[in-house]
Assembly symmetry: C2
Homo-oligomer: 494 residues x 2
């Protein structure tokens, strides 16, 4: 039996005859990848003790190490544990033109949990759904995701563990868990099947490779990678260019109606404002401290018209929060590093640690506002984005982050008044430029886009607060009040 | 007595009369800073319970929060503990055009250690020297570093602690340590004095501000910041442009002589090479595992002529290392984020965690090689860099990181042969471009610069290995041998 198996193995001679061409092709792949508009993610996952590490090392020897990075997820660091589970995978992503090999993939963490009880299995399934969603995002963003599953029979697994233990150089790699899993082989294989099913995507299918014969295994993996890359390169070398839409029509009219119906004028005397403001600032201070002392983080999102008063509102807010725990992230043009990643990467990047606060001055909603209107992304991209943004926020709230979203709404007449004021006031002049005037001419388009955003991304756990802001003082109070209420409600459920 | 003190305090009326102008000036500062070629670092340090947090919050209320970030160093995370102590400060640095307020500064960590024994005090002094060096680097890199020290008398400190404890909103801020330090006031003040003396720099002096009167304190700090900024802006608005030097003359002739004297031809048969290579790869694998299992990190640095074989050498190296613990960082043109920071920032950024390996393919030595020769930095900058680079590496080795530096040396004739080979070989053509030919014409200049580098940055704990590389196989063996030896020697001292 053992003999028969050996016979089926690829001979060293055959292997060595084929390796040079494969290596040459891999180097060519790397050359072709450099200018390509996408990254390559190669996942090497597999059954326990199936030789994932060996495969990764062989591939690294074949590739030019300067264009590829190997990533393995060890125990999460405290900075990682402080954020939603997917954060560590997001931060690891290679920029376009580069390749990353994931030893074990993000799937390894899920399998390491070794779920058994129905409850653990339900959590496992939820994790898998999240991983599938993540892979969907990446592939829809253009990334090539090649997922290899190394399959190893129980007897071959036993042979391999014995073999590793026999060699003093590799004996340390065999842990008691490995033998435990070996005895429990059937159950582990069922988990793996469940994992592969849940994360099987048309754009990122699993390639199951027999792992018992290392030579055949290495060649099969390289050839799979090469074939997938060639196909992907043909399909994605020049992605369809986005173009500026001629008209912006609503997807869901309710949002636009909600905006149009908002009464914008609210009287509020200066003295009345000051008394109320101080009361609410005090409350907000306590609410934020309550939250952060329990390890809850808070994310504020500010969107709204140019000159709607986002900056002033943020300033009032920060005056009530301990500055040592709070960061304000102004979202402007992405840096070149940011541009070479998925559009959500730069927002993941700035997520607060547990017990800290991040205020985004403009946000991920740029995707369905300016990017939609100016044609910075394609129609299929911004259409898809509503769900993507909802899911992103769902990950934050599931991790216990309190997400507060504000749309500051003003009338065109009030905006004009503020633009003119900015132009004649020395210390405000830097706040107005030609782009603001250009945006203003597209009022109707922005109104439609904002309406769709409000209609499609208003969620119970991450609701939009629509703030009438023609009266700045009233708007600021509204923001304080709504923030206090939402934080208190979130903490009550603890 | 308490009465007299109250009388000296600034009245609310006086304060409110002066605040608007100060706030206006701070906003103007932020506007002027945006296009400036430097960042602003404002350190708010001070005696225990002197109100550092309050000051930071007041300043944040006055400034536009979109242009300023507040940083406070809490307990180090495990990712921070895994790297040299200064890593957490480097990663926090603002890019040019932005301001960061450091609550407690990097000085807070040093004082929190509360040194008492002569040994602890010696360590304290060493920390302070490192902080002073850090500030020197930043200011010489153009940064404006404004350091405020809040001074509080023992009686005022007692008053403040009582006051904080009396208010339910602030009582949590008083810890048993605060009272302990209060009783030990004299000793704590001596430590603070020692700290200020050791970190007093002409370009980054301490501004001592009396903290007992919060209003006067706030205004004094804002005015200090404004004055320092105005002066700095005048001096640094247009830093002297670097220019390409006409001739490159050696600073230290020994390095150039060492290079010229290196015999480049070494015979080595293919079969002899293969046998030896496998032996040394095995040894290297064990050496790296020995190191990483003990939590030691390894940093390899590869420098050398174009086509000297850096890529091939790195590839052989990585074939012996578990790819899951190893990253190769190719150093090319900096990204725009990297360009907006101190030139060392991008190297700090990629330092390995404990027990991991980073291979830099080209490195921080670009400062004294291509930047010196092409005039990408000024003469005073590259001259200073030798010491800066030595110090950077000293921080790595002091943290237990093993630093292996290789210069791959070939003859001009051999380079020409390889360039031509690259031009005619399909899969090598991407490796040669016009810049390589341009660099080649400056052979003598690079030789001088490399000689100076070898002479001035060869240190016992981070020595340069000069590798004759006309024979690629010989060079690869040399690198394996030297790496094994240096790692073994470093571990022996454990």
């Amino acid at each position: 039996m053992a003999k028969a198996k050996t016979n089926r193995r690829m001979t060293k001679r055959d292997y060595e005859a084929r390796v040079p061409a494969v290596r040459e092709a891999l180097i060519q792949l790397q050359i072709a990848l450099q200018p390509a508009p996408f990254p390559v993610l190669l996942v090497i996952a597999g059954d326990d003790a199936s030789g994932k590490g060996d495969v990764v090392n062989v591939l690294n020897g074949w590739l030019d190490p300067r264009g590829v990075e190997t990533l393995a997820f060890h125990d999460p660091s405290d900075e990682e544990r402080d954020r939603p589970p997917m954060w560590r995978y997001w931060r690891s992503l290679p920029p376009r033109g580069r390749m990353a090999i994931y030893a074990g993939g993000w799937h390894g963490d899920a399998l390491a949990a070794d779920p058994r009880s129905p409850r653990e299995l339900a959590r496992f399934d939820a994790t898998l759904a999240r991983l599938a969603h993540f892979e969907g995002l990446l592939t829809e963003g253009g990334a090539l995701v090649v997922k290899i599953w190394l399959r190893l029979s129980q007897s071959a697994q036993g042979d391999r563990l014995h073999e590793l233990e026999a060699d003093p150089d590799t004996a340390w790699r065999v842990s008691p868990d490995d033998w435990k899993f070996h005895r429990d082989y059937e159950r582990r294989v069922r988990l793996a099947t469940r994992l592969r099913r849940a994360t099987e995507l048309a754009a990122a299918p699993w390639h199951v490779v027999e792992a018992a014969d290392p030579r055949a295994r290495n060649l099969a993996i390289a050839e799979t990678l090469l074939a997938r890359f060639q196909k992907h390169l043909r399909a994605h070398a020049t992605p369809p260019a986005p173009k500026k839409p001629r008209r912006i029509t609503p997807l869901r009219a309710t949002g636009l109606r909600r905006l149009k119906a908002l009464p914008l004028h609210h009287a509020l005397s200066e003295s009345d404002y000051e008394a109320k403001r101080d009361k609410w600032l005090g409350r907000l201070n306590r609410a934020v401290r309550d939250a952060t002392q329990r390890g809850r983080s808070i994310v504020w999102v500010f969107e709204g018209w140019d000159a709607a008063g986002k900056g002033g509102a943020i300033r009032r807010l920060t005056s009530a929060i301990d500055a040592r725990d709070c960061r304000v992230i102004p979202i402007a043009k992405p840096t070149d590093e940011e541009k070479s990643h998925h559009y959500l990467w730069r927002f993941w990047r700035h997520l607060p640690r547990a017990g800290r606060v991040t205020i985004y001055d403009r946000s991920w909603y740029g995707r369905v506002l300016v990017e939609r209107i100016e044609g910075f992304c394609r129609a299929d991209e911004w259409r898809r984005a509503f769900e993507e943004l909802n899911d992103f926020e769902a990950q934050l709230t599931a991790h216990g982050i309190i997400v507060l979203k504000f749309w500051l709404h003003i009338s065109p007449a009030e905006q004009l008044r503020r633009f003119r004021e900015r132009e004649v006031t020395a210390y405000k002049r830097h706040k107005i430029n030609a782009e603001d005037w250009r945006n203003r001419r597209q009022w109707a388009a922005y109104e439609v886009a904002a309406g769709d955003m409000l209609a499609l991304t208003d969620r119970p756990k991450a609701p939009w607060h629509l703030v009438p802001a023609d009266n700045k003082r009233f708007a600021r109070l509204e923001i304080l009040r709504a923030s206090c209420r939402q934080i208190a409600a979130a903490l009550e459920k603890d």
